[in-house]
């Protein structure tokens, strides 16, 4: 695997406050990397440093092999940015905004026109290409921003809260486009508050709290890693003994909840195997079997210590 983003000891200080404190991570080629954290945790500041918008106070950031400090133009030429706030020129039309981007990325006019048509078609704005952006809805502006970020076919795309405050239709369209882009090989760095979005979209997520990276892993691994004791919910087609269940290998407790049993264990895999064997030996067919993993929301809250009352 090749790292397309290599951040090492990224640090940003505003006055007396350290907004980003020696953050290090890598994003691999072809990956969708979710960057999560509560408000003020340093997500946007980190993204702005990585995209060369604000300078680093310490550390290094290498984007697609280029140091963002010493080779910012070369790095920027190969990535696209979708910021949190729509920043298309509202006095220009969608078409003019895309043409401007084409020129800023050094794309030949004919190619820029072809790309612009294709992208506007893709984001459903082709019919309104000659309308000034000031008349666009928030969702339309965000779709246009995505198109502007893709004009030069970037290898890497930074997105900062791309679906924040959007209607369902625009959100679904953007998420679907991101999946398609990723399938075509674009690496995606996604900053988001939306755990469900991160859970469904990202191969790995990094969680930042108070300017420090507190966890980086696949969403499923993060969910399970926060709880050393796991819960399994099981029900059988006839009554079984609670003591027998509690005595199975790996099981640390068995509590009845309605017609189900909630099993606690430190080893999910061993317990499921034991339950299957138990079912066969006692001729008690398993009706339902659910592993009750914590949600990414719970993992996020636990890791950012915001679940405390």
């Amino acid at each position: 695997m090749t790292a397309v983003i290599h951040a090492s000891d990224l640090t940003k200080i505003f006055g007396k406050s350290t907004a980003v404190d020696h953050v290090s991570f890598e994003v691999q080629k072809g990956e969708i990397f979710g960057f999560l954290g509560p408000n003020g945790a340093g997500k946007t500041t980190t993204t702005r440093m990585l995209t060369g918008v604000i300078p680093l106070d310490a550390g290094t950031a290498t984007i697609l092999g280029y140091d963002i400090r010493s080779d910012p133009v070369q790095a920027k030429q190969r990535f696209g940015v979708v910021p949190e706030t729509s920043n298309a020129y509202t006095d220009l039309t969608a078409w003019q905004n895309l043409m401007l981007m084409g020129e800023l990325y050094g794309i030949p006019r004919a190619r820029a026109e072809q790309r612009s048509s294709d992208l506007l078609e893709m984001v459903g704005l082709l019919e309104r290409k000659d309308q000034k952006v000031q008349a666009y809805s928030k969702g339309m502006k965000q779709r246009l921003i995505l198109a502007m970020a893709l004009i030069h076919e970037p290898e890497l795309l930074f997105l900062d809260e791309p679906t924040s405050g959007l209607d369902v239709q625009s959100t679904q369209m953007i998420l679907s486009l991101l999946r398609d882009l990723n399938r075509q090989g674009t690496t995606i760095f996604l900053t988001t508050h939306n755990m469900e979005e991160a859970n469904r979209l990202c191969h790995r997520v990094g969680i930042i709290r108070g300017g420090k990276m507190v966890a980086i892993d696949a969403p499923e691994k993060l969910k399970t890693a926060i709880d050393r004791v796991h819960r399994i919910e099981v029900s059988f087609d006839h009554e079984v003994s609670g003591d027998a269940l509690a005595g199975l290998a790996g099981v640390t407790g068995a509590n009845r909840t309605g017609d189900k049993w909630q099993i606690t264990t430190q080893n999910k895999d061993a317990t499921i195997r034991s339950l299957v064997t138990f079912s066969q030996e006692n001729s008690a067919a398993i009706v339902t079997l659910n592993t009750l993993a914590p949600s990414l929301d719970e993992a996020f809250l636990r890791l950012t210590q915001e679940d405390k009352p």
Binding site: R48, T51, V53, V73, V81, N87, L104, Y105
Partner: protein, 251 residues
């Protein structure tokens, strides 16, 4: 293609200039202000000071027009774009800060030159004869570069509130007009006034324009050109250096 190469960055600066012209300069109020402001100032002095000949005042009118138009919009572009977050868009694009500043300067140069031609035509329509047309063209171009660099220099303070910059801009621009031999001929200025006039690039431009219409001048023509060139280079280098330092503070 080397995106960081000089010519590629100049091409991208041209894209910035086209964007500026479309968004900020091709606006009715801006065009009207560009033409009317110097005309009204000129008329005020023409009516109130009848002993000054029209040929003297027209050089002042051309000087004021170019100075006010080339510095009219450029100081406010960065604050506008900073507050609209479009500056962040530009900062994430493969274009250097120097090229962004240069693009803003190109727009201001073209706007300044365009409106100044209107005043030159007014002068010719009033019966004045142009004696050194090529020199006037060269002087207008050089001074437009110099004044647009001043305009960008006024935009250096990293505020995203355009009114703050416009106030600062007026505070600097208006006194400069009064010390540059526009309304009071340099020959009639007191010694302290002449010392101040030497430090104003507008002085040299007005002196050059006066020469092209009347052949009268205070400084030798070569000194006027050299002074304008030195001011242009100095202001351009300083403005680019300072914007590079202050740009991150706007984000």
């Amino acid at each position: 293609m080397n995106p960081a190469g000089f010519f590629e960055q100049v091409r991208r600066a041209w894209a910035i200039a086209k964007k500026d012209i479309r968004i900020y300069y091709f606006k009715g109020p801006v065009l009207i202000f560009g033409v009317f402001m110097p005309v009204f100032l000129f008329l005020a002095f023409f009516m109130g000071s009848r002993q000054l000949p029209l040929s003297f005042l027209i050089s002042g009118l051309v000087g004021m027009t170019l100075f006010f138009t080339a510095t009219a919009v450029s100081p406010a572009i960065f604050p506008w774009e900073g507050s609209a977050k479009t500056l962040e868009r530009l900062a994430s694009c493969p274009i250097t800060i120097e090229a962004i500043v240069f693009g803003d300067m190109i727009a201001s140069i073209l706007f300044g030159i365009g409106i100044t031609f209107v005043t030159v035509i007014i002068g010719l329509a009033l019966g004045l004869s142009l004696l050194h047309g090529i020199l006037l063209l060269a002087a207008i171009f050089l001074a437009a570069c110099c004044f647009s660099a001043i305009g960008m220099l006024l935009a250096v303070p990293p505020t995203n509130v355009p009114s703050n910059i416009m106030m600062l801009s007026s505070l600097i621009k208006f006194p400069l007009v009064f010390i540059s031999g526009i309304f009071i001929p340099l020959e009639q200025m007191p010694a302290w006034g002449l010392v101040l006039a030497v430090f104003s690039p507008l002085t040299y431009f007005t002196d050059l324009v006066r020469y092209t219409f009347t052949e009268a001048h205070y400084f030798p023509v070569l000194i006027d050109i050299a002074a304008l060139a030195v001011f242009t280079v100095a202001f351009t280098v300083v403005t680019m250096f300072l914007h590079k330092r202050t740009m991150p503070k706007r984000m």
